[in-house]
Point group: C2
Chain length 173, copies 2
């Protein structure tokens, strides 16, 4: 494992906090989709570099990753605020967000989903583990009340829980 | 959230990979314990800076975190290889690893567990969410066979599964 993913962690987590990141996936039929993520963790698990993402089952991206197990994470430039916002608001089921946002795609080196040319950094990932976080199964002892209240809309009312995907970082550039 | 945790991610993940990190916890009775971790993820979850750790239920640290919900992560210096190795091999139930390794403790700023003076970086964390990864409950579709084989000893034969703790990073210095 000589991949120097550590060198990119500071820039990636900073952009994740300030703006969000763009996650690209490709369906079995070859249809590309992009969504904005605001949560993510980077580090080592099972001795492998890992990008952990959280996706709601109602998202089109969830359907695709379940099928294919691959995604790319694209770190946008500072001035891509409008694009990141739009990609977080509408669904790829009804929208071609790439054309709406004038995003160009480049072939990835390893995985099928492409990367976004306008972005600064690109991670290619393959899912090696998944956890479904279901409130009735998950212990709630440590889920503090602030979070329950803040994310009640997402976690409970919409009836859409979260899947955590552990994506092995195959390459980053 | 003005904590600039991003600035430390590169150094922390690099040391995690090359050597391991030292996790300190303190029991309700005030007994300190240290263990080595080789897995960990850093980033943002629920809009908060998070350090995700994985602890086997057989570990003394697991018992303490279940009681107290607090820990510190200490990033060792490069030359602390012997110490990191020892702290990963013996249990705090039978060993006083601080005295065996000549580690000095400093009072933390926010949490009860102290930090290790000889270390370079210190994270103070409070658990905000926990997931027990139990093979019979977790979907295995994405758990690739290499991992199953490699970690079979840990995950299955010892009968000790893993708890994932999402620790909010309260401060880092």
């Amino acid at each position: 494992m000589n991949l120097n993913f550590e060198a990119y962690t500071a820039e990636t987590t900073k952009r994740l906090r300030d703006l969000g990141l763009l996650l690209v996936s490709t369906s079995k039929q070859g249809k590309n989709n992009v969504m904005t993520i605001g949560w993510g963790l980077i580090g080592l698990f099972w001795g492998k570099p890992v990008f952990l993402i959280s996706v709601r089952p109602s998202c089109y991206t969830h359907e695709i990753i379940e099928e294919t197990g691959e995604f790319t994470i694209n770190v946008p430039e500072e001035n891509m605020n409008d694009i990141v916002e739009h990609c977080g608001e509408v669904s790829g089921r009804e929208h071609d967000k790439f054309s709406e946002c004038k995003l160009d795609l480049l072939k990835s080196k390893i995985v099928k989903p492409p990367v976004i040319e306008q972005c600064k950094l690109h991670y290619e990932c393959r899912v090696i583990h998944k956890i479904d976080v279901i409130p009735s199964l998950a212990p709630t002892k440590f889920l503090i009340h602030v979070i329950i209240a803040k994310f009640k809309g997402v976690l409970y009312l919409r009836g859409s829980y979260r899947s955590l995907y552990f994506g092995e970082i195959l390459t980053v550039y």
